[in-house]
Amino acid sequence: MTTAGTLPPDEQRLAVGSPIQDTRGDKIALACIYTALGLFCLAVLYPLVYVISASVSNTSKVSAGEVWLWPVGFTLDAYKAIFDYDAIVSSFGNSVYYAVAGAVVATILTLLAAYPLSRKGLPGKGLIMALFVFTMMFSGGLIPTYLVVDQLGLLNTRWAMILPTALAVWNVIITRTYFMVTIPEELVEAGKVDGCSDFGFFWRIVLPLSKPIIAVNLLFYAVAQWNSFFNALIYLTNEHLFPLQVVLRQILIQSRVDPSQMPDTSKLAQLKELQQQLKYSLIVIGMIPPLLVYPFVQKHFVKGAMIGSLKG
């Protein structure tokens, strides 16, 4: 399939450790890549800087459109205000909890599903796959799902945040595809010859080889939990269990009510002030944990990570 793949093994070894020299064409290509990436980063950085600047600026300067890039009228009031609301502080803790617990549970389920489905020749695999894929297209809808969660006694518990979303078929399919690429059938056969059971092979060979995809799964599930609000709205009625996004949603969307329908202008004015004050600081707070986590995921995206672990 690839030219490189057909190289004889000894030639490959030869290359190891030899100094890599860029050709002129390579240098030009690299320069282009650096420039393009740099420009794109700048374009992406702008909204980030804007949001951070707005969060530490005087709210009236923000609403007057005076903040373009850097903070105007520096103040940390917006962050202090966050701590005035018990709901925000406790919701932050809840979100972290749901993200971590949800990611762990979901990743385990995903790996358990994806590995067998990646093995060729497993009888019934096609049917099982179809069962999974079908649920991506058809769902029972809100009310019946709610009824199920209710009948399982999960309503208003932390489990309601974790179990109904404990598996995303999308992730299963991606993980399965990854396994198919990285765990060749020859390796499985070799394991069999060594007397490895399927459990043992999965535990001792597959998992260590799959750190990147495990990291990606943890990240994707954690992020999905972190960004989700809908299950909380539907399954929880105890504000001490609410995640941050529910609060954020109130600030960002609830305050967008049609003012002409608002029987109380002073309430409207209050809402507006609350929104202006908290909007950006809440977004910043909501962005910090995912950004902190990313480097831990990222370190697994090293070329040849899996080779190293197998050799070691």
Partner: protein, 340 residues
């Protein structure tokens, strides 16, 4: 040399027998693998019991949280109201489907949704792949890592804020976009009020927001490329771009094909919240999509329209499933990669 180094990235398709050779209930009619002739199904199932055991938990989950509630689709065929319940509400046949299909805006909705989705797919699908390849190829680790982190971050900015920023940038009086076209002697124009511009703004602002996040999956796939391949290719004198094309890209293709198939299955869905936020009275000709329409029906309705919404959802699912199966068949034949 270990087994894995011999694996060529991208040879995965060979690992799967064509699903068409099986009957729907999973009985194996043909032979699975040339190396294992005449092993009976029962025996092979017993041999693989540990794999089935692993599948048990996910399947139980699937049964409870995905299949159990699925009886709810009959809401689409009833005049459902919450007090009478799913079983107690009167049957309505295909009334709600007819209502949707005969609806004044039906074709406009389908057209807008499909255009928007396809445009988004075509325009933005390759971008994370290119980004991942670029990030993967540069050797300055600090640069690659910071670029990854920066491009990943916008995923966490709320849609409300992103749309707000787009409005600022396109403002006819103060927006950067208008200042820019002003340099060429155009404008100022109200870009957000131009129905023709809606799709471009939606798609490209989406690319800008989600490209970095979407690249993660490809970055993970790229880790399966053994460095030896690159080293050998360098010895052969392959340029950087050639190596990207011949070594890195094939490692990504299987994942990309799968993502593409899944994406085609959701052709009648688009990012609801963002479309709604970007809508205004002037761009409704292009910006009204199925999701926003259902939302507005709900908003305008004095009594919740569960049945109607479920019927529209079901309509969408059926179309999606048909396309998904087609795409999968197509992919199996031509890309040698498929869902099942």
């Amino acid at each position: 040399m270990t087994a894995s180094t011999e694996t060529r990235a991208g040879d995965r398709p060979a690992t799967q027998p064509p699903a068409g050779r099986r009957s729907p209930n999973g009985h194996q009619k043909g032979r699975v693998k040339a190396s294992k002739p005449s092993v009976r199904l029962g025996l092979r199932m017993r041999r693989n019991w540990q794999l089935y055991a692993m599948l048990a938990l996910p399947l139980i989950w699937l049964a409870i949280f995905a299949y159990w509630p699925m009886y709810g689709v009959i809401i689409a065929f009833k005049d459902y109201n919450v007090v009478s319940g799913i079983w107690g509400s009167p049957w309505a046949g295909f009334k709600h489907f007819d209502r949707f299909i005969e609806s004044y805006q039906f074709w406009k909705l389908i057209r807008n949704t499909v255009y928007l989705h396809v445009y988004e797919l075509v325009a933005t699908f390759p971008l994370p792949i290119i980004l991942a390849l670029c990030l993967n190829t540069i050797r300055k680790k600090w640069f690659s890592r910071s670029a990854q982190l920066i491009t990943y971050a916008p995923h966490f900015i709320s849609t409300v804020v992103v749309v707000g920023l787009v409005v600022v940038l396109t403002n006819p009086n103060t927006g950067v976009a208008n200042k820019f076209i002003g340099l060429f002697g155009f404008g100022p124009v109200d870009i957000m009020g131009d129905a023709g511009m809606f799709r471009h703004i939606y798609v490209w602002s989406g690319a800008w927001q989600t490209m970095g996040f979407a690249a993660i999956i490809y970055l993970a796939a790229l880790t399966s490329v053994p460095p030896e391949l690159h080293e050998a290719a360098i010895v052969d004198g392959a340029s950087r771009l050639r190596r990207m094309w011949h070594i890195d890209l094939p490692a990504i293709v299987p994942v990309a094909v799968i993502l593409l198939i899944l994406n085609i299955g959701s052709i009648l869905s688009v990012g609801f919240e963002k479309v709604l936020l970007m809508q205004n009275n002037l761009n409704l000709d292009t910006a009204e999509v199925i999701d926003t329409y259902v939302y507005k029906i709900g908003l305008a309705s004095a009594v919740p329209q569960f049945s109607y919404a479920t019927a529209i959802g079901l309509f969408r699912s059926v179309i999606g499933l048909v396309l998904l199966v087609l795409a999968n068949t197509f992919a199996r034949r031509f890309a040698k990669s498929s869902l099942w």
